[in-house]
């Protein structure tokens, strides 16, 4: 390095390299030892793996986990409510009340005949007196003699698949043939309440997911500002060697997107595991004696593919939010 020739040679060589020419066999560099195989040549410009980075990844993982649980639960409620609504909406009930001076069995048979004559009714089923009394057992206890009580009788009608039929003519003919005795219940009130409840659950779920994502964004913004302050020296040197703001913002964004991705994946996978575990536990309970009733009351514990997809989607959204927020924060910090 004592003489001045190498710099000229370097200049000539770099010109050749830039114009795409390969170094010739006589080139001095050809005789040089090869590059160490362990030489790190393209490490991230923003230092990674500090304690702050690990904490941020943990915060993102926890928030993603909570958001994913929420989204999965909302999706489960929505699909259970759908199933339940479908089952309930497929049935209507005729209630026939006993009335002094009337033969209730004849009234029931009359109501059933009227229902059968109505288009759109697939099957009918008459609850016998014994069956009707058994329905009261959970409330009144067993072993009672209910024969003195005016227990109403039910006829359930299953609707034919397809668009729900118009039940007004049936209601009118029941009122005409059995005035004050028979009434038709199409569960409209129940359905309305059920769908309001399901929509509320889904709305609350979406709201919580949004809040959690906003919290993720804020945590990332704080962390980015901290990282910018901690790496002031790096930012300054990058500026001096000719990096523009966009380049620096991209360097930070890449690092934070990486952290977000790591946190998002951990959170989502944990949420998937939680749902899988809850599914196993629910199946174990269902084999018990009360399982059937629980199933009937709450619906099966089942997170469909849409549930799993929304869990994964939330992981991806958390990473993207992390990258974007860090970029915006850096741009604002540098401006």
């Amino acid at each position: 390095m004592g003489d001045t020739a190498p710099l000229s040679r370097k200049t000539a060589r770099t010109d050749a390299t830039r114009s795409g020419a390969r170094p010739g066999p006589g080139d001095a560099a050809a005789a040089e030892p090869p590059l160490p195989p362990t030489l790190r040549r393209n490490a991230p410009l923003v230092p990674t793996d500090s304690a702050a980075s690990r904490s941020l990844a943990a915060v993102i993982a926890i928030l993603t986990f909570l958001a994913a649980l929420c989204a999965g639960a909302a999706e489960m409620v929505a699909s259970s409510a759908d199933q339940w609504q479908g089952a309930v909406a497929q049935e209507v009930t005729i209630q026939v009340r006993p009335s002094p001076g009337r033969a209730i069995d004849a009234d029931v048979a009359r109501a059933e005949a009227l229902a059968k004559a109505t288009p759109g009714i697939a099957t009918t089923r008459v609850f016998s007196k014994a069956e009707a009394e058994r329905l009261l057992e959970p409330w009144l206890g067993s072993g009672l003699d209910l024969s003195d009580l005016p227990v109403p009788r039910l006829v359930t009608l299953t609707l034919a698949p397809g668009p729900s039929p118009d039940l007004k003519p049936l209601r009118a003919s029941l009122a005409e043939a059995l005035p004050g005795v028979a009434s038709l219940d199409d569960h409209a009130l129940w359905l309305r309440r059920l769908s309001t409840m399901a929509n509320t659950f889904v709305g609350v779920g979406v709201g919580i997911v949004a809040l959690v994502l906003i919290a993720t964004g804020l945590a990332v913004a704080f962390a980015t500002r901290g990282a910018m302050a901690g790496n002031r020296e790096v930012v300054e040197v990058l500026h001096f060697v000719g990096a523009d703001d966009d380049f620096i913002a991209r360097a930070f964004q890449r690092r934070f997107f990486g952290l977000g991705l790591r946190g998002g994946i951990v959170g989502s996978v944990a949420a998937l595991a939680a749902f899988a575990a809850a599914g196993v536990v629910a199946r174990a309970w269902r084999t018990g004696p009360a399982g059937e009733e629980l199933d009937a009351l709450f619906g099966a514990f089942h997170v469909g593919w849409r549930g799993y997809a929304s869990v994964l989607l939330i992981g991806v959204i958390a990473s993207v939010v992390t990258g974007l927020v860090s970029r915006l924060t850096v741009r604002r910090f540098l401006a």
């Binding site: 560099a29 020296e233 060697v241």
Partner: protein, 237 residues
Amino acid sequence: MADRVRGESLLAGAEGPVVQFENVGMRYGLGPEVLSDVSFEIAPHSFQFLTGPSGAGKTTLLRLILLSVRPTRGLVSVFGEEVSGIASDTLTSLRRRMGVVFQDFRLLDHLTTYENVALPLRVQGRAESSYRAEVVELLRWVGLGERMHVLPPLLSGGEKQRAAIARALIARPELLLADEPTGNVDPGLGRRLLRLFIELNRLGTSVLIATHDFALMDLVDARRLVLGEGRLRVETP
């Protein structure tokens, strides 16, 4: 890209100075003026020293040229651009035409020597494979061929200095600013580094070296910008 910039500067250089200060005054906050009525020019392809006692404002003057601070009064022009109210795009493109060696080196501790030296090319968005040969050759030439995979905290003072100089030279700047570049090396290496700057100057780069090493300055017949009590005096050989 660098070739194009250099071509422009050669044309522009025939007309105007690389750096021009006119009655520049500079104070930090409400403190006293660090620089007062400083006027000078750096001509294209010129070589000069900036000297003066410690605290005379050498580093402030370099920071003004580097556009990291703005003058309190007066005009500073770099490559023909007046710097007050300069757009950030222009600022970046002006900085890419300068190389700078800081007194405290400012190497990034989490990057290897190789990555530090390659930084000016990397921030231009170039692929690593496109500049690898250049970087390796320059590193070997400044005697860091065996140290390119080492992180700066493990380099000696002299090695850090050479890495900082290599980083300043790698993009073949039109203007090289060096703040005490030989401060941490033995006199022999100091002279070799000086020869490196002189050769760079022969290849067309304007060089400004801030130093208070008179022995070093006596080795070259170059213009001296002498700062004292905030004022600048130009001594020509």
